[in-house]
Amino acid sequence: MSLIKAFVAIIRRDLILAVRRRAEIVNPLFFFILVVTLFPLGIGAQATLLQAMAPGVIWVSALLAAMLSLDSLFRSDFDDGSLEQMLLSPYPVAVLVLGKVVAHWLVTGLPLILIAPLLAVFLGLPDAAMGTLVKTLVLGTPVLSLIGAIGVALTVGLRRGGMILSLLVLPLYIPVLIFASNAVDMAAMGLPVSAQINILMAILCLALVLAPLPAAAALKMSVN
C-alpha cells in the first residue's frame, strides 16, 4: 500500500467512524451556536454593540468549539488500541496524523464554516464582511485542528487532560484569532484585507508542514 493510499484510508476510516457516531459532529456545532447565543444575552442586545463585536464573538466561539472537539481526535483510537497499530505501521506517523487531522477538520471544522454566516447575520455583521468571514474560517480552522493535534497528542494518555489541553493550545491559537477577527473587522469597515488573508495562508502552510511532526513525536511518547 502506498503512502497516499494509507493517507486516504485513514481519512476514509475516520469519516466512516464519525458518520456512525453522529454526536461527535453535532456536539461541537451545538456548542458553537450556544456560545454565540450567550454573548447577546450577556452583553445586551444593542445592535451597534453586537455588530462591532460580531467578528470577535464568532471567532472566539469557533476557537472554543474547535478546542472542545479536539479530544475526539485520538481518544477512541487510544482507548481501543488502534493508535498503537498505527504507530507500528510502516508509514511515517506524521502522514497518518495529517490524515486524521484532515478527517477531523472535515467532521468538526467544516460544519462550523457552514453555520457561521448564519450566526453572523444574527449578530448583524454587514454583508460586505461575510465573504471575508468564510475565507478566514476556511483558512483558520484547519490551523486550529493542526495545532490542536499537537496538544491533544501530548495529553491523550492523561486521565484529566482536558484542562491542561486548553492551557497548552489556546496561547498557540492567538495569532489565528488576531489575524482572522481583524480581517473580518476591516472587511466590515470596507477596508482591504488581503494582508491578513495572506498571513493566514502562510500560517496554514507552516502548520500543514510543521505541526504533524511534533504531533507524531508526542503520540509516540504518549503511547509508551
Partner: protein
C-alpha cells in the same frame, strides 16, 4: 575527528553523570552567589543613587532596573528551555531534561515579575495598571506558555516521559513565539519601542545603561543559582533509589 577539543567534551561527558554534576554544582553555587551579590550591589547602587532621574519620568523610571532584566530573562529562559529540550529529545540526556524542567518555574517567575513591575510603572506613567498593549500581551501569553509547560510536567507521572512531553511543547512554543509576538504587535502597540537592542546607538544615556547591563548580568547569575538549586532537588528526586543518594544522605545526617 571532532570539532570540540577533547578536554571540553570529556568535561561534558563527566557532567552528564548525576553524582558528579551534583558535587560540582555544590562547589559552584557559592561562587555564583558571590558574583551575583557583587553585581546586584553595584547595579542597584549605580541605578538607584548614581544614575540621574529621568527628565520626564522622574524617579519612577528606575523600575527598569528590575523590569527590563526580568523581561529579558523571561525570553532567554524559554529559548534555553527549548535548546535543552532539543538536546533531551535527540540525545536522551537526563541532565538536559532536568535543566529544562527546573527552568520552567523560574522563567515563569521572571515573566511574572516583568508583568508586575510593568504594571506598577504603568499606573503613574500611563495612568492605568494594565493596557492591552502588544508587548504586555505577548509577555502575558509567554506566562501562559510557561504555565502550560509546568502543568504538563506535573500531570504526567513518569518523569522521563513528562520531560519529553514538555520538550516537545517547548519547542513548538519557541517556533510560535515570534509569530505570536508579531501578531500581537500588529494588533496593538502602546509600549515604547526598543531602546537598547536597536540598530545604531542605544537611545539611553550611558549612566543609565551601565546599571541596566549590570542588573541584567546579575539576573543571569541569579537564574544560574536558582536553576542549579532546583536541578539539585530534581536530581535527588529522580535518583532517590540509587546508592550515591543514599550515601549522600547518610553523610549529611
Amino acid at each position: 575527528m571532532s570539532i570540540i577539543p577533547a578536554p571540553v567534551s570529556r568535561f561534558f561527558h563527566r557532567m552528564a553523570s548525576p553524582p558528579i554534576f551534583y558535587a560540582f554544582v555544590d562547589k559552584l553555587i557559592p561562587w555564583l552567589s558571590l558574583i551575583f551579590i557583587g553585581l546586584t550591589g553595584a547595579g542597584l547602587y549605580l541605578g538607584l543613587f548614581v544614575a540621574p532621574a529621568d527628565y520626564q519620568q522622574g524617579d519612577s523610571y528606575r523600575i527598569i532596573y528590575i523590569h527590563v532584566p526580568a523581561a529579558w530573562m523571561s525570553l532567554f529562559i524559554y529559548v534555553l528551555m527549548a535548546i535543552c529540550g532539543g538536546i533531551a529529545l535527540i540525545w536522551r540526556m537526563k541532565l538536559a531534561e532536568v535543566m529544562m524542567v527546573s527552568s520552567a518555574p523560574i522563567g515563569a517567575g521572571f515573566t511574572f515579575i516583568a508583568l508586575v513591575t510593568g504594571s506598577l510603572w504603568g499606573k503613574p506613567m500611563w495612568g492605568t495598571w494594565w493596557v492591552w498593549d502588544a508587548r504586555l500581551t505577548s509577555e502575558l501569553i509567554l506566562l501562559f506558555l510557561y504555565l502550560g509547560a509546568i502543568s504538563l510536567y506535573g500531570a504526567i507521572e513518569d518523569r522521563r516521559t513528562a520531560s519529553r512531553a514538555v520538550a516537545i511543547l517547548v519547542i513548538v512554543g519557541v517556533v510560535n513565539i515570534p509569530i505570536i509576538h508579531y501578531s500581537v504587535q500588529w494588533w496593538n502597540t502602546l509600549h515604547q519601542g526598543p531602546t537598547v537592542a536597536k540598530a545604531g546607538k542605544p537611545s539611553i544615556h550611558i549612566s543609565m545603561l551601565i546599571p541596566l547591563l549590570l542588573m541584567a548580568t546579575a539576573f543571569k547569575f541569579h537564574y544560574a543559582i536558582a536553576v542549579l538549586q532546583a536541578a539539585k532537588v530534581e536530581i535527588l528526586k529522580r535518583e532517590q533509589n540509587t546508592q550515591w543518594v543514599k550515601k549522600l544522605i547518610e553523610e549529611n545526617a
